[in-house]
C-alpha cells in the first residue's frame, strides 16, 4: 500500500520515461513492433508485463500496421491501449491512424522523431510526425524526459475526454537515449488523476454493431468530420484544464506553449522539441551580452493548432523567427507556414521568417543560433523558405 503512495525519482532515458508513464497510466493492452530508436520503450514494457508489474496484454505483431490494428481492436473493446513507433514504422501505420480517429478512439502512441528514408537516417527530425499531421491525431512535442513521462499521463486524460488519439513526440537519441532525472508520480496520484476509461461505444457482444460501415454522400459523413474538428477545438481547452489539474498534484505544468523571456520580447523565436533548450540557453546568453529584446516560444501542441492563443502571443511583436526541423517539399517549414497563415488576418502583422534546419539529425549549436538571429535581422521578411546550415564541404566534394 505504501508503495502506491510513493513518488519515485529515477534517472531515465526518454524511452524509459515513456514506459514508466505507460505503467502508471495502467494501460491494459500494448502492441508494438520494434524500430530504432523506439525499441527500448517496448522492451521495458514487455519486461514490466512479464514481471506482472504492469497488468497488460502485450501483443507481438509482424508490422506497425498490425500493431495499430491491434490497438484499434483493443481500444474499441474499451481497453486503454498504447503503442510506440518511429519514422518508417509510423508511415506504415498511416492508413490506420485515420481509422483510429474516425472511430474516435483515445489511443496514445509515443513517436520517437526520426528522419525518413531515403537515404537511411536514424537521427532526429520531425518529418515522420509532420507527415501525419492531417490524420486527426493530437500531436504533443516534448523537450525533456520529465515532460515525456508527464505527457503520456496527460495524453490519456485529454484523449479520453474528447475521444481523439494522441501522439507524444520525442526526439531520437537527444531524448530517447539520453538519461535525465525524472520524477514518477505515485500510482495513487495517477489513479486519482486518471480514472479508468469509459468508452461509450465499446463493443458489447450482446449488442452486435458494425463500426465504420459505409456512409453515403447524403449520410452524416461530413457531419462526423465536423464533430472531429469540434473535438479538436475542445481538446485545446482540455489540455489546459488537464495541465492545471496536473500542476496542482505535481507542481509541473505543461500547457499548449512554453514562454521563455517573452514579456518584453520584440523578436520571438518559435521552436519545438528538444532543440528548444539550446535556443533558450542561447537567448539567455544574448540577453546578457547585447541587451536584445528576444524571447523563445516553444510550441508543444501542433494539433490541435492553437490559433487564438498564438495570435494573442505573437500579434504585436516585431519579428518572428520560426525554426522548422522538417520540410514540406515544394512548400516549406510546416510550423512556419501554419503560423504565418494564422497571423494573416491581423491588421498589423509582424515580420515572419521561416528557417529549415537540423534535418537528418544535424546538430544546432549556440553558434548556429547566433548566426541565425544575425541573419534574420538583415532580412526584410520576403522569403517563403530559408535553408539554414547547408554545409559547404558537403556540396564541394
Amino acid at each position: 500500500m505504501e508503495k502506491l503512495k510513493t513518488r519515485e525519482k529515477k534517472v531515465l532515458y526518454g524511452n524509459h520515461a515513456v514506459s514508466y508513464g505507460v505503467k502508471v497510466s495502467r494501460v491494459q493492452v500494448i502492441s508494438a513492433y520494434p524500430i530504432t530508436p523506439q525499441t527500448p520503450v517496448v522492451e521495458l514494457l514487455s519486461e514490466m508485463c512479464g514481471k506482472k508489474e504492469l497488468n497488460a496484454t502485450f501483443v507481438n505483431v509482424e508490422s506497425e500496421h498490425s500493431a495499430m490494428a491491434v490497438c484499434i481492436g483493443a481500444s474499441i473493446s474499451g481497453a486503454r491501449v498504447f503503442t510506440a513507433t518511429s519514422s518508417q514504422g509510423l508511415l506504415l501505420m498511416h492508413e490506420l491512424l485515420h481509422w483510429a480517429t474516425g472511430d474516435r478512439l483515445p489511443i496514445v502512441m509515443a513517436v520517437i522523431n526520426r528522419a525518413v528514408a531515403a537515404p537511411w537516417s536514424i537521427w532526429s527530425d520531425q518529418n515522420d510526425t509532420i507527415s501525419q499531421r492531417d490524420t486527426g491525431w493530437m500531436q504533443i512535442y516534448c523537450e525533456s524526459n520529465q515532460e515525456v513521462l508527464d505527457s503520456i499521463i496527460l495524453a490519456y486524460k485529454v484523449s479520453e475526454k474528447v475521444f481523439l488519439p494522441t501522439m507524444i513526440v520525442l526526439d531520437a537519441f537527444i531524448l530517447s537515449h539520453t538519461a535525465e532525472p525524472v520524477e514518477i508520480p505515485s500510482q495513487e496520484e495517477v489513479d486519482n488523476f486518471l480514472p479508468p476509461l469509459v468508452l461509450p461505444w465499446a463493443l458489447d457482444p450482446q449488442k452486435p454493431v458494425a463500426i465504420g460501415a459505409v456512409v453515403s454522400p447524403s449520410g452524416p459523413y461530413m457531419e462526423l468530420r465536423y464533430k472531429i474538428q469540434k473535438a479538436m477545438e475542445k481538446a485545446l481547452e482540455e489540455i489546459e484544464n488537464a495541465s492545471l489539474e496536473y500542476e496542482s498534484i505535481t507542481g509541473r505544468r505543461w500547457g499548449v506553449f512554453e514562454e521563455f523571456m517573452m514579456d518584453d520580447a520584440d523578436t520571438v523565436i518559435v521552436v519545438s522539441g528538444a532543440i528548444s533548450s539550446t535556443f533558450k540557453y542561447t537567448v539567455n546568453e544574448i540577453r546578457k551580452e547585447k541587451n536584445k529584446k528576444i524571447g523563445v516560444l516553444r510550441m508543444r501542441v501542433l494539433r490541435p493548432f492553437p490559433f487564438v492563443k498564438l495570435r494573442e502571443i505573437l500579434g504585436d511583436r516585431k519579428r518572428i523567427i520560426v525554426v522548422d526541423r522538417n520540410i514540406s517539399f515544394g512548400s516549406g517549414g510546416v510550423f512556419f507556414n501554419e503560423i504565418r497563415s494564422c497571423l494573416y488576418n491581423l491588421k498589423r502583422r509582424p515580420k515572419i521568417l521561416g528557417y529549415i534546419t537540423g534535418l537528418g539529425g544535424r546538430d544546432i549549436t549556440p553558434k548556429d543560433i547566433y548566426d541565425m538571429i544575425e541573419d534574420a535581422e538583415k532580412r526584410k521578411g520576403e522569403e517563403d523558405i530559408i535553408f539554414f546550415g547547408l554545409k559547404e564541404e558537403n556540396i564541394n566534394l
Binding site: G102, D103, K207, V209, I211, E223, L224, K227
Partner: protein, 554 residues
Amino acid sequence: MSERIHYKNIDELPEIALSVGSTRVLKTGSWRNVKPVIEDKAAPCTKACPIGTKIPQYFYHTIEKDLDKAADILLEKNPFPAITGRVCPAFCQIGCNRKRFDERISIREIERFVGDYILERGYKVKNLPSDTGKSIAVVGSGPAGMAAAYYLRRAGHKVTIYERESLPGGVLRYGIPPYRLPKDILDKEFEMLLNMGIKIETNRELSKDLDLEELRKNFDALFIATGAWIEKKMKIEGEELFLSGVHFLKEFNTGKDISRFKGKKVACIGAGNVAMDVVRTLKRINAKPEILYRRTEAEMPALEEEREKAKKDGIPFHLLVLPIKAKEKNGKTVLTIQRMQLGEPDSSGRRRPVPVEGSEYEEEYDFVIKAIGEESDRKLLPPEYLGEDGWPYADKKTAATKVKGVFAGGDFIQGPSTVVEAESWAQKAAESINRYLKGEDLTIKESVPKTVSYMLIKTDYFKKEKAIHPFELTVEERINSFEEEVKTLSDELAIKEAKRCFSCGYCNSCGNCFVYCPDMAVLWKDSRPLIDYDFCKGCGVCASECPRGIINMV
C-alpha cells in the same frame, strides 16, 4: 433493410458511424477470384505403406484416446497390426516427413500399441456385409493367406483356409523366432479370424491331399499363397552337408530339440533376414554362430536393425568370403573359403563379388547352415500357371494368375519379402476377387491422391522433439532368453509420440484456418473447418497457415 434515424441536433448524432443492421447481406464472397478448397491428401507414410494404412487418421483418434475408432481405421487396411507392429520394416517411417525436421515418428511402435489393444478387444468388424453366397478357398495360412481371408470375409464371402502344417501361420509361426514375435500373439490373431467365421483346415497340402482342380470346382475363386520355403542351391561340392536356414527355424519353432547346437561352432552362409534369425536364435542357446557373407555390410539384404542387433549380440561377421567347397572330417565340416572383392554393379544394383585369386583358406565348423535365399515350389502348380521364366506367375496389380478364378500372391510369387508386402498381395487379390465375382474388369483404376511434401508443412507450428523409442531388453538379457526383446509403448508414450505427427494432409482440427480467417469465413462444423463461400474473399490466409497442406487455392 435500412431505416433512417433522425437526430435533433449535431450533439445527438453519435461520434462514430455505427450500424446495427447486419453486414451479412453483403456477400463479400463475390469479390473473390481464387477460392480455398479443403482437400485431405495422402501423407507420405501412407503412400510408402504397401497396404496404404491411414496413419495420420488413426493417430488422430489415438491422441483423442478413442482407441476403438483408431482400431477400426487401422483394421480397414491392416488385419494384423499387432504382428506388423512388431516385424514390419516400416516403410512408412522411411517416408515420414518429420525426419527432415528432427526425427521420424515411431509409427510402427504406435501401430503395435493399437494392435495390442485390438488383440484385447477383438476385431468387432462393424457392418460386415450380408453373405454374398460366394465361397473362396485360400491355400496357405501365412501372412498373405491370412490377410486375404480377412479381406474376403469382410467383403461378405465364405472363406476356407487350407494349411499343410498342423498349425496355421506359415512363416509367422515357423520362421520368425519368438523373441521377435511371440506365438501367443499369432494364436490370438487366428482366434479373431475364426471368430469372424473363417474356416481353417490344417494338414492339407496342395498336390498331395488337396487337388487344385477340385478346389476350382468347389469354390467360386481361389487364392494361392504357399510362400517360399525351398532353400536355394549354391551348386558347390559338399553342399549336402549343409542344413537349411528355414528348416532350422522351423525345427526350432515347432519345439524340436536343438540342443545339439549348444556350445558348437556354426557357420551361417548368407546375410538376409533368415540368416539373422538363425544366428540370433543360435546365440540364445549358447551356440557360437558366425555369419559368412560374400559382400559387405552395405549390400546385406537383412533389415538394418536386425543386422545391428546381431552385431551387438556378439556374432562375428566374416565379410567378402564365399565357401566354395565342403568336406566332412571327424563328424565336422571343413569349408574351403574364397576371399572376395567388390566389382561392377550387377542387375540388382549391388556391386558384384569377384573372387580374389589364390586367397582360399580352410575353416572347420561343427555345423554349416545355408540361408542364401528361398524360392517357391514350382512343382506345386501345373504348367499353365507358370510364367515365361518357369516360375509361378500372378499379375502384380491384380494378383490374377493365367487361370480364370485363380489368384496368387505373397512370397509364393514375389520370393522372400515382408509381412506387409504379403498383406498387400492379399489386398489386391481380395479386390480382384470381388470384381471377378461381380463379373467386372479386374484392372483397378486408382485415383491417386496428391502427397503432401515436406515443403507444404508449416514447420513453424512445431517444436523440435526427439522420437520416442520403445523399451528393449539389454544385450545380456536378450542373448540368454527367448523373451520378446522389444516392448510395447505405454499409453502415455504412444500418445505422446502420436502427438509428434505432423498429420500431413489430414485435418486434425487444429483450428488455425478458423482462427486466422480475417473474414470469419471459416466455419467450424463437427470439429472440422467448412469454408463459407458467401463471405470468403479468397485471401489465402487459411491455406498459408494450414500446418499440414490441406487447403488448396484454386
